[in-house]
Symmetry: D2
Subunit: 340 residues, 4 copies
């Protein structure tokens, strides 16, 4: 019989934190023993999120530091905080799933430019396993530290993986991606104030976005050579959901077969015959892919949809947790999208 695992969620009151709690509540073997929050320490969880009122977890206190021992930690923290906490936890023998970007890129030279800090623990970058199960499942099983992928990289890498693995020659790669507003986090800002965001949409970080070097790094590992991406993220007036459209020029192949083979047996990646809708995956751990090759221009387009907070963050973290613990990979992750 499976053993109960004691879980600590650091940073429980951001969007990835609260999404993680909702999922872990449905997990039969995860026992949440500590919830940390700097902003809300001393409050009960249901005071911050009244949707937890009906569960016992709702009356649990948020604390500045964990007050019980645990087996594994989920870190839903700012990059800088994760950066310093991870080595400390590893030293104490804890396994760690880090949802920040602090350990995702193996090349330490990218951090000053993209994250604004020198990486203080570069020796751990090699030990960190990039937590995209469809690419790195075997490494995740035994990992002490999993760097849980960013949302744009998750959607994009699942769209590119079959052709990268196949080593197909790609002339350029353009990633044009839409995200729901929750991707920007829980901190309020003028442009995400409801009256300014309803009915609005805009591109941002067109010149530089942290997820670009993350995607390029993983591509290099899988593909064996460098690809420079052109990446344009955009925000649309939806709470959740992400659609990445990946454009590349290459020779024609039977792409549908290639993708179906690559993802055969994968519990969370499906090939769709029609362009998928955000609403097909919102609230779930699923990724739907759609393929179109345009002969007149030799351009292959792959459309990939996920939920930015779920497969793009918290449910993927639980998928990694299941793999690390040897549980069924789909535990607590079978929920379908609410429709409508």
């Amino acid at each position: 019989m499976e053993q109960e695992i004691k879980v600590c969620v650091y940073g429980a009151t951001g969007y990835t934190g609260v999404e993680l709690l909702r999922i872990l509540l449905e997990h039969p073997y995860a026992k949440i023993v500590s919830l940390t929050s700097q902003s809300y320490a001393g409050k009960r969880l249901s005071e911050v999120f009244p949707s937890f009122l009906p569960t016992p977890l709702g009356s649990m206190f948020l604390t500045a530091e964990p007050e019980e021992d645990f087996d594994i930690a989920f870190l839903c923290l700012p990059h800088e905080t994760s950066l310093e906490l991870v080595p400390e936890l590893l030293k104490r023998g804890k396994r760690v799933i880090d949802l920040s970007g602090a350990y995702r890129i193996g090349d330490k030279s990218k951090y000053p430019e993209y994250y604004g800090f020198e990486h203080t623990h570069p020796e751990l970058l090699d030990k960190a396993v990039y937590g995209l199960p469809e690419l790195f499942r075997e490494h995740i099983k035994t990992a002490q530290l999993v760097a849980n992928p960013g949302c744009y990289p998750t959607a994009t890498l699942l769209a590119l993986y079959p052709i990268l693995r196949e080593g197909i020659e790609l002339d350029f790669v353009i990633v044009d991606a839409l995200s729901g507003v929750s991707g920007a986090g829980r901190k309020t800002s003028q442009k995400f104030h409801y009256p300014e965001m309803e009915g609005n949409a805009f591109a941002y970080s067109v010149e530089k976005h942290r997820h670009t070097p993350e995607m390029e790094y993983v591509i290099q590992r899988v593909y064996g050579k460098d690809i420079k991406l052109r990446f344009t993220p955009q925000v649309i007036p939806a709470v959740r959901g992400m659609m990445a459209k990946v454009y590349t020029r290459c020779e024609e192949l039977d792409f549908v077969s290639l993708y179906k083979e690559t993802y055969e047996g994968e519990p969370f990646v499906f090939i769709s015959q029609e362009p998928p809708h955000l609403k097909h995956v919102v609230g779930t751990n699923f990724c739907l892919l759609y393929l179109h090759y345009h002969r007149e221009t030799s351009i292959l387009e792959v459309i990939s949809v996920i939920d930015n907070l779920s497969k793009g963050a918290s449910s993927q973290a639980v998928q990694n947790f299941n793999i690390m613990m040897g549980f069924g990979e789909g535990l607590a992750l079978k929920r379908l999208a609410t429709f409508p």
Copy 2:
């Protein structure tokens, strides 16, 4: 050990039908054996609702009539269709949970005015149990036919029940209620076309609404005397969720204690200290109540929020199913609201 129950869902492709399927998929003892649909017979479920693509249920065919035997039927059908199907199913010994309005009002004289038909099976109106567990749990246990309540009546009756049961003198009762657009069903119409409904809100059926006699009938049963309601339903630009505000004039009492006592032990009804938000309950079977007594006017206001498609329809139907079958009442119903 509990037994698997064979379930047929009639009218599986309306909003209450598809919501029911999503919930039943998480139920350990419900085995869906038939899905009927007039509009989509011959198609696979996932062709109509691609969110079911990742489950085996997604590849099940919709059929015009059930093609396998079953123990219990959920009827997500038009009122007129339910009206005629119910007696037929009862004759065949099936238990029935009817989500339409065909058997909700015990007084047959209301049907011509409010439903546009003479009730053809008035003898069954006495046998039908009104499926609001918090009021009629004992009758539901052994019911052959459960008339699953309307959404507005669910929200309103839970708001009124404690003071009705207490027999408090009420000078008038005004129900002013907001509903998400899904309450109007899946059939398209000009006013619910996205460009016309975004940013819009309006009252409708101000002069006459089917839920008025339903509420008045149940009030009479619980309260022992007639109350005429003033009821104004409104639609707001949200998919799901319902907020009923019930205004009445009466003497001051310790209403919070009264409500807490009445609903003590109820797994799905909670008293909130702040006016509750739709988002606290969307996607769940919960009802949150908020009480305010205004001394200057002697007006008591009770605010009640539910999800119109869940506690107001399909999850309440599953709650009734659990009660009828002797299962734990919360099976498949513990899911919290997705936040944000």
Copy 3:
């Protein structure tokens, strides 16, 4: 020929300020000479609101204090700031339209409880004209100081005025009102962060709201006796628009005729035969009223819709401006709602 009027807009970068600018730009005789802003002083208007990029006004600088002389000031300022600025401007001979609540209630005793300050200039409360043209047009013409009404009071008082003026006996008055989120202003807050407000709705300030004494004060003036209101404001997921439903118990009358007579000739108030939609008035200075008398309960319900930022604030301010200056009352105010 009409003369150009030099206008200063204080607090130009809040929602009522920017809405006022948009309207004044279409005004043939208003010349905007100064725009003040504490938060954005030193920036050009189009840096804060890029929608002004295509107009010369867009390149005008926001300043901490007006830097040119003017004839009339619109005050889109916090209550406390208006409170002190108004007497100073009046002393300098300026006419003032104050969009704050600082001078709306004639009874100074209400301010500590509802606004949190002692009124420091009670002698001006008598001089301030309540700027609801349909009720007080004659006084507005010659006013030095117009207290521009709140949004809820505008919608509610237009709904009540005909029966108040007629002196009809009213048993109680309940105001249940919905507002778009812009009514809460431009300052960000957690509950109006897009991901938390989309698909949400909730009641707020149920126990106490500043607009209650404002409405009660004007009712007393028009009706000649006190009425205590039960008022429940709610916010819905829309940017703009307000719907007040006013419930009262009284004898039956030919209400439609009464309302049509009362508002005959009014350029901005119309009686609708169907419950009006927010979208019929959003962006405009119009108010649509709908009447329903329910004989079973003797309850009269009046539904009133306006745009909270327009007729509920800035376009009403321009209507007052037109009246004060002797211009055509509809100048710059004839724009219809954008549809869809």
Copy 4:
């Protein structure tokens, strides 16, 4: 002094029709004499669109055929209907602005594949002037027939024009574009039913879209050679607004200067220093362009935002009308976006 022009609007009750009426109401020289509608003939305009209640136009009757003579016709009709009506009107000496696609593409061979009909009046294709004023103003002045551009082509061609005109070598051109739902028209459909579209987004017509040959045809005329486009339209949960992102690979230039020069003096096209938001242009005739050249990949990206119903349809039609009549080009078109 300018003369009053008698205008007939054919197809007044679709979204482009009603948007045109709203704009023409603010036009000093346009006198609307006829409104046709097949679906609503016999009704008054305000019965269909209550937002017109406060104007005299609101009480005008919709008729199956025009019942008064006119100088110019705006055709807001299905393609097939325009196809046959245009020659008839031209024969009667009327000037015509056709908002359908029936006369936009000069190459008749495209119609069967993209519009599903053989073009029955190919002799008129040469006479039709493509109504994009920034490209073809001189031809529009004297045109009898203006083919008003599609929304995606308007946004895309304004983004491409300066580099096309300059003859810059372009390796490929990818157009990835987002549209508000109103672009799909007023006819209801399941996927645009409010509960299914809120929070949703999806790509459509990925394999073939009518606007592709329209764009390619105009590009050929301006650029002098063929370019095959890769075009992916998407719908997002907003009522109005369109954002086209045009990606091409070319040598680096001072693009900002090139674009500023090209559009110098244009009243409706502006270069933005930040990626523009839909809300900056919704409800207006403006187009905002943003330029970014990515040296690592030699990819130029131009982001173009317009309102699909305004600059992408009806206000552009009025701009063409002004040019044809010799009026100031900005008459009735100076309105700014409502904010928020």
